[in-house]
C-alpha cells in the first residue's frame, strides 16, 4: 500500500517530459537508512548539477520493475566496494569531457593523485582501512568545499580527517594553526590538506617541509635557507622547521626555544658553546622588546580606562608589534646583530607609545587639579557675593 502511494506520488511529481526516475519511489520506502539516502541526495551537489541516481549507479531509472531497473545488462553497478570506489567516481571525475559538461574548472586528476597518496597505496595493497573517496566525501548529500556544511569545508576538515587520524587532529587543534582556524575563525589558516595535499595526501618528506611551511612563512624560509644552519640540517636529515617547532601541535614560539632548559639548540650545541651564547643574546633581545611592548600596552590601557584617547599611541604600538614579529622572523638567520637591529626599532616605538600614555595619565591628573582650583575660585566668589549682599541688607 505504502509502496503504491509512493509510486503514485513519484509518478505525479515526475515531469512528463524530463527523464523519468523511479529509483526514489522504491528505495525511499525500503527502510529508514535508504529513506535518509534518498532525502540526503536532494541537496547533493551532483543533483544540483542535474545528475540522477543512474548517472553514478547505472541501470534504467524509467522502469518500475526492480529486476528491469537494476539490470546489470543495462549498466547497473549498484554500490561500489571501497576498492572500486576511485574508479567508480573516476568515471566522470577523471574524464575531461564529462567534467566539462558539469564543472569545467574542476581538475580531473583526483584519481591519479589518489593512487600516489598513502591512502591510495594502502588500498591498492589490500588494506581495507585506508580511506577512499566516500570516507572524506560522504555520498548522497555531498557539498562543495566552499559550503560551510561540507565535510571538506576548511573548518570541518580537522573533524573529517580526525575520524581516522584522531591524535593528529587533536594535536592540530591545540597548535597555533588549529587555534587560528577553529577559534579565531581565520579560514586562511592552514588545515590538514594545506600541508599534506588532499587527494594525494602523504606526509611531507624532510626536504620538502621547509617548502611547505615556507609557502606562507616565506621570510622565515628565506632567512633559514641563507643561514649556515641549512647545510648542517640537510646533512643530518633534519626536518627544517619541525625539528624546532614540531608538527601538528605547533606551539606559539617563545624566546625560551633559544636558550635555557627548554632550548631546542641544545639538541646539537653544547651549553657552553659560542653558538649557545649567540642564541642567548637573541633571546635577551627578543625578551627586551617583548617587555617594552607589554609595558607600553599596559600603560595605554591604564590611560584608556581613564577615558583618554590613545589612538596615536595605539598606532605606534601597532608598529612596535610589527617590528617584534619581524625580529622573531630574523632569528631564523641566526645573526644576533640583525635581530638586535630590528628589535631595537620596535622597542623604541613601544617606548614612544608608553611615553604618550604616561603623558595622558599625567594630563588626566592635571585636569582634576585644574578643576579643583577653578572650583575653589568660583565658590570663593559665590560666597563673597552672597555675604556682601547679606551685609548690605
Amino acid at each position: 500500500m505504502t509502496l503504491a502511494v509512493l509510486v503514485l506520488a513519484a509518478a505525479l511529481a515526475a515531469p512528463a517530459s524530463a527523464a523519468v526516475n523511479r529509483c526514489a519511489a522504491c528505495h525511499g520506502g525500503i527502510d529508514e537508512k535508504h529513506a535518509a539516502l534518498v532525502k540526503g541526495f536532494e541537496r547533493d551537489i551532483h543533483r544540483e548539477k542535474g545528475l540522477t541516481c543512474a548517472a553514478c549507479h547505472g541501470g534504467d531509472p524509467t522502469k518500475d520493475d526492480a529486476a528491469e531497473a537494476m539490470d546489470p545488462e543495462k549498466g547497473f553497478v549498484g554500490a561500489p566496494s571501497k576498492a572500486d570506489m576511485p574508479r567508480f567516481c573516476g568515471k566522470c571525475h577523471s574524464d575531461p569531457a564529462a567534467m566539462r559538461r558539469s564543472n569545467p574548472s574542476l581538475p580531473v586528476d583526483q584519481e591519479l593523485k589518489y593512487y600516489t597518496s598513502r591512502h591510495g597505496k594502502l588500498l591498492k595493497a589490500g588494506d581495507g582501512r585506508a580511506a577512499s573517496c566516500a570516507d572524506c566525501h560522504p555520498p548522497h548529500g555531498m557539498r562543495p568545499p566552499k559550503d560551510p556544511t561540507s565535510s571538506v569545508y576548511a573548518k570541518n576538515i580537522p573533524r573529517t580527517c580526525g575520524t581516522c587520524h584522531a591524535r593528529q587532529s587533536s594535536d592540530y587543534r591545540a597548535g597555533v594553526h588549529g587555534v587560528a582556524l577553529l577559534e579565531k575563525g581565520d579560514t586562511a589558516a592552514p588545515v590538514c590538506n594545506t600541508c599534506h595535499g588532499n587527494h594525494g595526501a602523504t606526509p611531507p618528506a624532510a626536504a620538502s617541509i621547509a617548502m611547505v611551511c615556507g609557502s606562507c612563512h616565506a621570510n622565515n624560509m628565506e632567512f633559514f635557507k641563507a643561514s649556515p644552519m641549512a647545510k648542517a640540517w640537510e646533512k643530518k636529515g633534519f626536518h627544517a622547521c619541525a625539528t624546532c617547532h614540531g608538527n601538528h601541535a605547533i606551539a606559539k614560539p617563545t624566546p625560551e626555544l633559544l636558550s635555557g632548559s627548554h632550548a631546542v639548540c641544545l639538541k646539537c650545541h653544547a651549553p657552553a658553546s659560542p653558538q649557545l651564547a649567540a642564541a642567548a643574546a637573541m633571546k635577551g633581545t627578543l625578551l627586551s622588546v617583548e617587555t617594552a611592548y607589554a609595558s607600553a600596552e599596559a600603560a595605554i590601557k591604564d590611560a584608556e580606562v581613564r577615558g583618554m584617547d590613545m589612538e596615536d599611541a595605539r598606532d605606534a604600538l601597532g608598529q612596535a608589534r610589527m617590528a617584534m614579529y619581524q625580529a622573531r622572523t630574523v632569528v631564523h638567520s641566526f645573526q644576533p646583530a640583525k635581530v638586535q637591529e630590528v628589535a631595537g626599532g620596535g622597542a623604541d616605538l613601544a617606548r614612544k607609545a608608553e611615553g604618550e600614555a604616561r603623558a595622558a595619565v599625567l594630563d588626566f591628573r592635571n585636569r582634576r587639579i585644574g578643576l579643583g582650583l577653578a572650583t575653589f575660585v568660583l565658590t570663593f566668589l559665590a560666597g563673597a557675593l552672597y555675604l556682601r549682599v547679606k551685609d548690605q541688607e
Binding site: S215, H217, N219, E311, M322, T329, F380, L381, R388
Partner: protein
C-alpha cells in the same frame, strides 16, 4: 565698615580669579594645536621625480598607512598598506610587480585584489592625482 571693605576686596579678587579660570581654557582652546586634524581628504606624497618606475613609498593618510606605487610602466597606484589578513604592513615587489605581505606570503595585484595566499579581502584603493608635479593621494570616491 571693615568687613565690607574686606568683602569688596574678596569680590574683586574673586572676579579676577573667575575671569582667568574661564579665559585660560578658552584662549588655549582657540589656539590651534600643532598637529593638524586627522582623516584629511588629500595627502601629498612628494614630487613626481621622487617616484622612479618600480618604486614605492608608504605614507600616512590620517591614521591609516597607504602605499603609493609607481609600477614598471610608469602608472601610479595607491592602496591601503594594511594587509587584510592579520594587519601587517605590505610592500611593493618590483621583481614581480605585485604587492606582497611578508608575514604569511600574501599577494595582491596593483589594483589591490588579493591574488594568492591568506588575505581574505582586497586592499582598499585610494586615488592618485598629479597636482602640477606633486603626487597627491585622495580618498577614493
Amino acid at each position: 565698615m571693615k568687613r565690607r571693605t574686606f568683602l569688596n576686596l574678596a569680590i574683586v579678587s574673586g572676579l579676577a580669579g573667575t575671569a582667568s579660570a574661564l579665559l585660560y581654557p578658552v584662549l588655549r582652546y582657540l589656539l590651534p594645536p600643532e598637529e593638524a586634524e586627522a582623516e584629511p581628504e588629500t595627502v601629498k606624497a612628494g614630487p613626481e621625480k621622487d617616484f622612479a618606475p618600480g618604486s614605492s613609498k608608504i605614507l600616512k593618510f590620517g591614521r591609516k598607512p597607504v602605499i603609493v606605487i609607481r609600477d614598471l610602466a610608469g602608472g601610479f597606484h595607491a592602496l591601503s598598506a594594511t594587509c587584510t589578513h592579520l594587519d601587517c604592513i605590505v610592500q611593493y615587489r618590483k621583481d614581480r610587480d605585485l604587492v606582497w605581505c611578508a608575514c604569511h606570503n600574501g599577494n595582491y595585484d596593483l589594483s589591490g585584489k588579493n591574488v594568492s595566499g591568506p588575505p581574505p579581502r582586497p586592499l582598499d584603493r585610494f586615488e592618485v592625482k598629479l597636482v602640477g608635479s606633486e603626487v597627491t593621494v585622495l580618498r577614493a570616491a
